[in-house]
Amino acid sequence: MVDDRSGHNKIEVRDLTISYGNRPVLRQVALEVRAHEIFGIIGPANSGKTSFLNAVNRMDQMRSNMRVSGSIRINGIDTRSWRNVYALRRKIGVVFPLPVGLPLTVYDNVALAPRLAGTAGSRAELDERVERCLRRAALWDEVKDRLHHLGSLLSGGQQQRLTIARALSQSPEILMLDEFSIAVDPVTTMRIEDVLRELKAEMTIILVTNLVQQAHRLADRTAFFLDGECVEIGETEALFNGGAVDPRTHDYLGGKFG
């Protein structure tokens, strides 16, 4: 499944340990995410999945008690050595568990990031960009007549696709999704999953999910996190077809706990 020609390592994580105060939430994680793959991270609640994502785009800067040690390299460069975290975050799109339609119009939600970065260009260019992002997020047809209505008034599933359109607005190299389907109905979830399969050609995707079957459907490779430990990483097909080495992975995938 992995395209080996494009399969160089996009993200390399070494010795990553994250703690809040004295409480560790992730210990000694080492993994690679290959370019143009969907990398699934599964595991029950409090296993450190979200903290991992926060460390990748350096959201730990916002949280005074979050400590990160070890290294995360993106394109071979340690993210800790990037002084301009804002430029780093512009390379990484994030979709949160609960949809966050900012209290702006649909258009302004999608145009926000280019405007903030000063790359909005002319009105026609921005119009074109907003339309392209909304189309790729499978939302265009539903909102094209109300681009100037408040984004926070859309339905939950629409807002989540709006969030995806917003994350795509800066053509990110990496897209991170954190349990995106929690507040979304099954039909919309399937549409978003189709979108993700298409986006893979253009970017690297990290998909954190607590739905084991979603990882099975989408991910090329899957990592299993449990209580702050990365238990196992493997090709998704192999893991799900009895190839799990660690018995805990086997039990989790088999639905024995979690």
């Binding site: 900012l102 209290p103 702006l104 926000l112």
Partner: protein, 304 residues
């Protein structure tokens, strides 16, 4: 069902009576607020009505700057000078107060953490507890000589002095309401903006401020209400002379201060007495209009 269940279900036990009693007490508390407001309105209106019906010349009342209710030969009742003075002070006070208060609220809500935050909040609340006569004293004994020295003017009591004092008085309440408005903006908005690469200032300017717009508006209008309604400090800081102010150093007289200073000296039921209540009615309407405007604007914002 056992026999007797029906009567047991129908019985009014002690809990039922306590619940009913509680309901009635709560109802009385709720209704009393309305009764008092309507009562005050009726009282003020009744006292001022005679003047409005018989003695008042509408043109003179609103458009004459001459307030001479005690003149023996030809009393005049013009409130223009007082309205202009009060309005000028309110506008100037808000122009000074809002940037500082909203800036302080942004710092407390978005940047300050831990002990700094708590200390600042306590200090600001302390500022709100200073009685207005103390502010008036500050205006007379500190601001007055300061303005005289700094600007080389003959007198330091007037529009500028009152506006500075009012700004200081309104700052704590405006700051704490604005801070509440910022706190009410969900953190998920900030995280979403920062994840898009927004700097902290961009996050505040582009996302937090628009989201907190309603709350900030009510903070501002509360400040305006304070400006129109404050009596004692303005009475002491304004110079209290009837004068249409043309510069920020001019003395003026506030509507409220006029009522406070003159009401005790007038015979109950006289034209002068009633005219003061007419001013009260006018203030009532101003406050009413400010609140209604706030209400409509807030509703308009919600509809989007």
């Amino acid at each position: 069902m056992e026999p007797g269940d029906a009567t047991r279900l129908d019985a009014r036990d002690s809990r039922w009576y306590i619940d009913k009693g509680f309901e009635i007490v709560m109802f009385l508390c709720g209704i009393s607020a309305i009764v008092f407001v309507v009562g005050i309105f009726l009282f003020v209106f009744r006292e001022g009505l005679g003047f409005i019906l018989h003695d008042m010349d509408v043109g003179e009342f609103f458009f004459s700057p001459k307030w001479r209710p005690t003149s023996l030969h030809h009393p005049t009742y013009g409130i223009l000078a007082m309205v202009a003075g009060t309005a000028a002070v309110t506008v100037l006070a808000m122009a000074i107060c809002l940037p500082f208060s909203i800036g302080a609220a942004i710092y407390i809500a978005e940047f300050a953490t831990g002990r700094t935050r708590e200390t600042l909040k306590i200090l600001i609340e302390f500022l709100a507890a200073i009685p207005s006569v103390v502010w008036g004293f500050i205006a007379l004994s500190i601001m007055n000589p300061l303005i005289i020295t700094l600007f080389d003017v003959p007198m330091g009591l007037g529009v500028l002095n009152s506006a500075l004092i009012l700004a200081l008085m309104a700052a704590p309440i405006v700051t704490s309401i604005a801070e509440d408005a910022f706190k009410a903006v969900p953190d998920s908005y900030r995280e979403a903006a920062e994840a898009l690469g927004a700097t902290r200032w961009q996050t505040i300017y582009k996302v937090v401020l628009p989201a907190a717009r309603n709350g900030l508006l009510s903070a501002g209008l509360l400040g305006v209400g304070r400006g129109f309604g404050e009596t004692m400090a303005v009475l002491m800081a304004s110079g209290h002379s009837i004068n249409l102010p043309t510069s920020v150093f001019d003395s003026f007289r506030a509507l409220t201060a006029t009522i406070a200073a003159e009401l005790g000296e007038t015979p109950v039921g006289s034209s002068h007495y009633q005219s003061l209540f007419a001013i009260g009615i006018f203030l009532f309407f101003i406050t009413f209009i400010i609140n209604m405007t706030a209400d409509f604007v807030v509703r308009g914002v919600r509809k989007g």
